[in-house]
């Protein structure tokens, strides 16, 4: 076991835990944002650098600070390590720089993008980014590609996080897509416009932190904040069948996996559930999905008193008692 202090909060974690995992065990504001790391995918992380943290004390045995910010998703904790995330202004400045780099080639087409409203890059740039780009050169541009019948690839929006490649590697057998070329011209592609046809290939839409891979069956159908997210499940032979439905009235507009607070899927779902089951009769609907109140998705969605944990009967009782007391004194 190793003792690690993150932003002044100490926690004891098993050896081999990364700083990011330790921060997620604490939870709350100390958790660094992550664009490429995905706890359910092996060897993910280490590309985007948004999760950088400052290590002010290496360990109990070697208390020297680390010379540069380190990627918390790839650095394991040492006993007695002291880590600074939000309390260090230098680090926040460094993260701002990372976000600026991520946004260099990212187009400002949020009004068109289907990911807007649930995009991690949008949240990140809102929190750390500059209002204007300082980049003077031409952004790299690609044609939009349909990979298969169900997935649209907007390479312009890709930040090369490799999550979708890890999905193809670890979830689907005989993968047909990957990252080709290098450096500035690197892009996700298939072998000569090959279609991605695998039962679990649709999960690359869900793992994509930006709007590079989007669902063609939901393309331009609605904006996320106009849809109502519902938890639902069905008996599926291929996957767990636990999904989130994005509904408008009685119509199922989109089916995705259930994402946790870090935007990671609780379980991967199969393409059958994702694309083919778009009737309410296909699903057992459990109830409305809990969305954080500050998210744009919960805009104009009215919460019931039960959800707000206000007990109406208790309030009524109190009011009646006050009324009786008043009458008695008169």
């Amino acid at each position: 076991m190793a003792k690690v202090t993150i932003d002044g909060i100490t926690i004891e974690v098993p050896d081999g835990t990364t700083i990011l995992q330790a921060a997620r065990m604490i939870g709350g504001d100390v958790v660094p944002p992550a664009m490429c790391y995905y706890s359910k995918l092996e060897t993910s992380g280490g590309y985007c650098r948004t999760c950088i943290v400052k290590v002010t004390k290496g360990s109990e045995k070697d208390p020297r600070p680390m010379p540069k910010p380190v990627a918390s998703c790839r650095t394991t904790v040492m006993d007695g390590m002291v880590v600074e995330n939000t309390v260090s202004p230098d680090l926040l400045e460094a993260r701002k720089g990372v976000v600026e780099f991520l946004l260099i080639n990212h187009p400002l087409d949020c009004p068109i993008c289907d990911q807007a409203g649930e995009c991690h890059l949008q949240d990140l740039s809102y929190e750390h980014g500059l209002a204007k780009s300082r980049y003077e050169f031409k952004r790299r541009e690609f044609e939009q590609i349909d990979i298969g019948e169900k997935i649209k690839l907007h390479m312009n929006r890709c930040i090369l996080c490799y999550r979708c490649v890890k999905v193809a590697d670890q979830l689907c057998d005989g993968r047909v897509h990957g990252v080709i070329n290098r450096g500035d011209v690197a892009e996700i592609s298939t072998y000569i416009s090959n279609a991605v046809e695998n039962d679990f290939s649709g999960n690359m839409i869900d793992v994509c932190p930006v709007g590079a891979l989007t669902d063609r069956t939901f393309r331009f159908k609605s904006r996320v904040w106009f849809t109502k997210p519902m938890d639902a499940h069905r008996d599926c032979k291929k996957c767990s069948g636990k999904v989130a439905l994005w509904m408008s009235g009685n119509e199922v507009l989109r089916v995705t996996g259930r994402k946790d607070r870090y935007g990671e899927l609780e379980s991967f779902i199969c393409n059958d559930c994702r694309y083919e089951k778009k009737n309410t009769t296909d699903w057992n609907i459990e109830g409305p999905r809990n969305i954080e109140r500050h998210s744009v998705i919960s805009q104009n969605h009215y919460m019931s008193l039960r959800q707000l944990k206000i007990d109406v009967s208790k309030q009524k009782e109190l009011a009646e008692k006050a009324h009786r007391d008043k009458q008695n004194t008169q």
């Binding site: 009004p111 068109i112 807007a116 331009f220 609605s222 106009f226 744009v296 805009q299 008169q330």
Partner: protein, 192 residues
């Protein structure tokens, strides 16, 4: 049940201003009892108004200038090349406190590049003018400078259906002479 209300003397009540007048029923003098001076005085006031500048104008024929911040009927703007600015991003609808705006998005097809500026456009765009409170939040939310409130007045109607304005009433004409001028509002926006 007994009511024990004690009345406080007037002087002890807190007064907010000292402008209150105590009404007295004093006896009128002889001149006052004639009433004629008061009547003549009143007529003088009426007569004086014949020579004053009129406070009203005869609307439709004469029209007053609108204030530059006046918020009337909406317009969906086109760009210089006549393409619609709106991309159906839905920010106006989510910003609208009265929930008066609704839209359906469509994908631009090949050959429609001269009609719509971006690859997505609003195939249906409706504002319910009975719901609208003309607050201008849609204009403020718009990232594409597409919707503006103008100095036009929403016309009256006998039916409710007539107040749901579709794209035919909202989008401005492609004819350069019939464009809706929003230069003043645009200027105000860019200087914010």
């Amino acid at each position: 049940m007994e009511h024990n209300i004690t009345r406080l003397p007037i002087e002890s009540l807190m007064q907010l201003t000292n402008r209150s007048k105590v009404v007295v029923n004093k006896k009128m003098s002889f001149v006052e009892r004639l009433y004629l001076p008061a009547i003549l005085g009143g007529l003088m006031i009426t007569f004086r108004h014949f020579f004053k500048k009129k406070a009203t104008i005869s609307y439709p024929e004469v029209q007053r200038d609108f204030s530059p911040v006046y918020r009337g009927q909406h317009v969906l703007k086109r760009d210089e090349q006549g393409r619609e600015n709106c991309t159906a991003c839905g920010l106006c609808a989510v910003a609208c406190p009265a929930e008066a705006i609704s839209m359906t998005a469509s994908e631009r097809k090949k050959g429609e590049e001269h009609l719509y500026r971006e690859e997505k456009y609003a195939s249906v765009y409706e504002i319910n003018m009975l719901r609208c409170i003309f607050c201008g939040l849609c204009e403020e939310a718009c990232p594409k400078e597409a919707i503006f409130l103008t100095d036009r007045i929403v016309s009256s109607d006998y039916q409710r259906n007539g107040f749901i304005y579709g794209k035919d009433q909202l989008v401005e004409s492609t004819d350069p002479d019939k464009r809706v001028d929003i230069a003043g509002r645009l200027k105000a926006h860019r200087h914010q």
